[in-house]
Assembly symmetry: C2
Homo-oligomer: 84 residues x 2
C-alpha cells in the first residue's frame, strides 16, 4: 500500500523564532499590521510504501526523528493518508 504523509516541523513554542519575528516586522512595512505572531517552520510531503497505516506512521516518525526534525529546537506533526 502507498501512503502520503504531510509533515509540519515547527520551532518549539517556548523558543524564539527570529525568522518569524523578522517577517512579523516586515508585515507592518507592507501595510499588514493586523498580522502578528508569525512563526516559520518546514512543511514536508513524502510518499511511503508500507503494509498498513501503523507501519507507515512508524516509518514516518522514524524519518522525522532521525532526519527531518531537530528535537532540541523543533517539534513535528504528521498527517498520514492512503494515496490513490
Amino acid at each position: 500500500m502507498k501512503f502520503k504523509a504531510e509533515i509540519n516541523v515547527m520551532p518549539l513554542r517556548t523558543l524564539l523564532d527570529p525568522q518569524g519575528k523578522a517577517v512579523t516586522g516586515s508585515m507592518k512595512n507592507i501595510g499588514l499590521a493586523e498580522i502578528h505572531n508569525v512563526r516559520i517552520g518546514k512543511h514536508i510531503s513524502l510518499e511511503i510504501d508500507a503494509s498498513n497505516k501503523e507501519a507507515a506512521q512508524k516509518k514516518t516518525e522514524e524519518a522525522c526523528k532521525k532526519l527531518l526534525a531537530n528535537p532540541i529546537m523543533e517539534f513535528f506533526e504528521i498527517t498520514l493518508e492512503e494515496s490513490k
Copy 2:
C-alpha cells in the same frame, strides 16, 4: 475578531526540488528506502485581526503574494480558522 492561519508554501510541482531530492537520497542511507518523493517547503503560522473571515482570508493571501511566497517557484495553501 482574531483568526489563525496555517500556510504551506511549497515548490511548484512542475519544478525540481533539489532539497527534497537530497533528503530522498538520505532516506536510503538511514534504512528508510520505503520513503520517496520527498518535497520540502515552508510552513507558516500567523494570527490576524479582522472583522470577518473573508477579510482575514484576503489579508492572508496578500501577505502570501507580497512576502511569504515567490509565485515563480512556489504555490501556497491557506487554512484559516477563528481562534478562541
